[in-house]
Every structure is written in structure tokens, then in C-alpha cells.
């Protein structure tokens, strides 16, 4: 009986996180104009590629991955549930800007901010805020 030959390294498998952001963004390229029950603008593929690269480059592995959803106006929305915080970043892919909103469901306090996502400082600020929320949750 023939024994299947092995190429060095091919026996390694990588389990993809179900929230893997580049994979999800790639999937959003399948949307067409009208995707939202006749409305809904399809996100521009180049914009999705830009965001995937930004996330891959800037987003630390130790933070929880965001959920990713399309937005009716052609953008993308990242969301995190970091109890008791509900966080969203709605991204305008053409402007490369984002509307940050975080709500603490326990205290009812919310915060919002417009982020210029071309600016590394904006990503750093966002990652710092998420880290604070994760840290507070893990201390509880």
C-alpha cells in the first residue's frame, strides 16, 4: 500500500478564530448594492482591504476580536461586548474615520468620539480604552 508522502510542515493545522477579522471582511465583499432588503450600499473592496491590513498591523492579539457587521451606508461596524461595556466603532471606509461609542450598561455612562483612523494615535487611543475595559472586567 502506498503511504502518502508528507511535505514538511503540511501536517500543521491552524484553527481559524470564528471572529477572524480579515476573513469576515473578505466575506463582506460578496455584498452587492441593495443587500439590505433593497437598500444598503456594498462596501468598497479596497476599503475592506485597507481595514483588514490596519487590524492585522495594529490590533493586539491579547485583546478580544471585534464582531464585524456591514452598515447600510457602505461602511463597516466593529462591536465588542466586554461586560458591562457595549462598544462600537462605525467606520467610514472612504474617509477612513470612525465613530466610537462605548456604553457601560451598569452605570449608564457612555462616551463617543470621532477617530481619524489614518492616525496611529487614534488606534492607540482605542486600543488603550479597550485594554482598560478588559482589565477592569478581569479584575472583577
Amino acid at each position: 500500500m502506498d503511504t502518502p508522502s508528507k511535505t514538511p510542515g503540511t501536517e500543521r493545522t491552524t484553527l481559524l478564530d470564528p471572529l477572524d477579522v480579515p476573513t469576515r471582511l473578505e466575506g463582506l465583499k460578496a455584498l452587492r448594492n441593495g443587500w439590505l432588503n433593497g437598500r444598503g450600499i456594498a462596501p468598497v473592496p479596497a476599503g475592506l482591504d485597507w481595514l483588514a491590513l490596519e487590524i492585522k498591523t495594529r490590533y493586539p492579539e491579547e485583546l478580544p476580536l471585534p464582531y464585524v457587521y456591514p452598515v447600510a451606508e457602505g461602511g463597516v461596524r466593529l462591536e465588542w461586548s466586554i461586560t458591562p461595556h457595549e462598544v462600537s466603532l462605525e467606520i467610514d471606509l472612504s474617509q477612513k474615520s470612525g465613530e466610537w461609542h462605548a456604553l457601560n450598561l451598569d452605570t449608564d455612562v457612555d462616551e463617543s468620539r470621532t477617530l481619524n483612523l489614518v492616525d496611529a494615535a487614534a488606534w492607540a487611543w482605542m486600543i488603550h480604552r479597550l485594554s482598560e475595559m478588559v482589565g477592569a472586567t478581569s479584575r472583577d
Binding site: V71, S88, L103
Partner: protein, 122 residues
């Protein structure tokens, strides 16, 4: 529509990832003119609303979530019957809310809906 009325909201499949719905579900888009469409749960069941939405109207929905009239009132959001659209139609009125207020109220409504759980899942 009373405080106890379930307001049934259809959830588009693109707004679900790993079984988690987006807080967009309870937020009107700019083209909605601040009005979030719902079905009046006193007049139609969740499953019937899904059948109407996907069958009669030909739209896509992965299931139905619901908030009550009281939960909207607590967010200072009026609920208005709008039978001119179709007889069971109502809307939650976000008029006068800023973008961040809409975000906050949408997230609170989704949290309430998720505590209640899916009313129908396709």
C-alpha cells in the same frame, strides 16, 4: 400599543455574526427618518411577522427580537402605530435624538431584547 406590547423587530442575516446580533438592529438608518419599523406583537405573532416580512414583503430576516413598549418609554422613545404601511406596522420614534443618543438607546434596547431572547428564529 401598551407598555406590555411586544414590538417585534426583524433581524437581517448580515447583522448576525456567530449568533450575536449587532446593536444596529435597534437603530434606524439615516434613510429611515428616525423611525424604526416594528410589528405590533398584540396583533401578530413573531413567527407570523417573520412570514409576512419574508414572504409577503419578500425581505430577508434571520429571526425576530422584541422589546416592550415600556422599554421604549424608559428610553424616552415614543411608539406609534402606523397602519398605513400595513395593519400590524408600528414604529419606534427616534426623532430629536443625536447620533450618540441613538447609539446609546439602540444598545440598551438590544440588551433588553437579548435578555428576552429570540422570539422566532428561522
Amino acid at each position: 400599543v401598551t407598555d406590555e406590547t411586544l414590538l417585534l423587530r426583524q433581524v437581517h442575516p448580515a447583522f448576525i455574526q456567530n449568533d450575536r446580533p449587532s446593536s444596529q438592529v435597534f437603530r434606524p438608518t439615516p434613510k429611515d427618518e428616525h423611525k424604526l419599523s416594528v410589528y405590533d406583537g398584540d396583533m401578530i405573532t413573531a413567527e407570523q411577522s417573520w412570514q409576512h416580512f419574508t414572504g409577503d414583503l419578500g425581505y430577508r430576516s434571520a429571526g425576530v427580537l422584541a422589546v416592550t413598549g415600556r422599554e421604549c418609554t424608559e428610553q424616552s422613545l415614543p411608539v406609534v402605530s402606523s397602519p398605513e404601511v400595513f395593519k400590524e406596522h408600528a414604529h419606534i420614534d427616534f426623532s430629536g435624538c443625536t447620533a450618540s443618543q441613538i447609539e446609546k438607546k439602540g444598545k440598551k434596547l438590544l440588551a433588553a431584547a437579548l435578555v428576552r431572547g429570540w422570539q422566532y428564529r428561522a
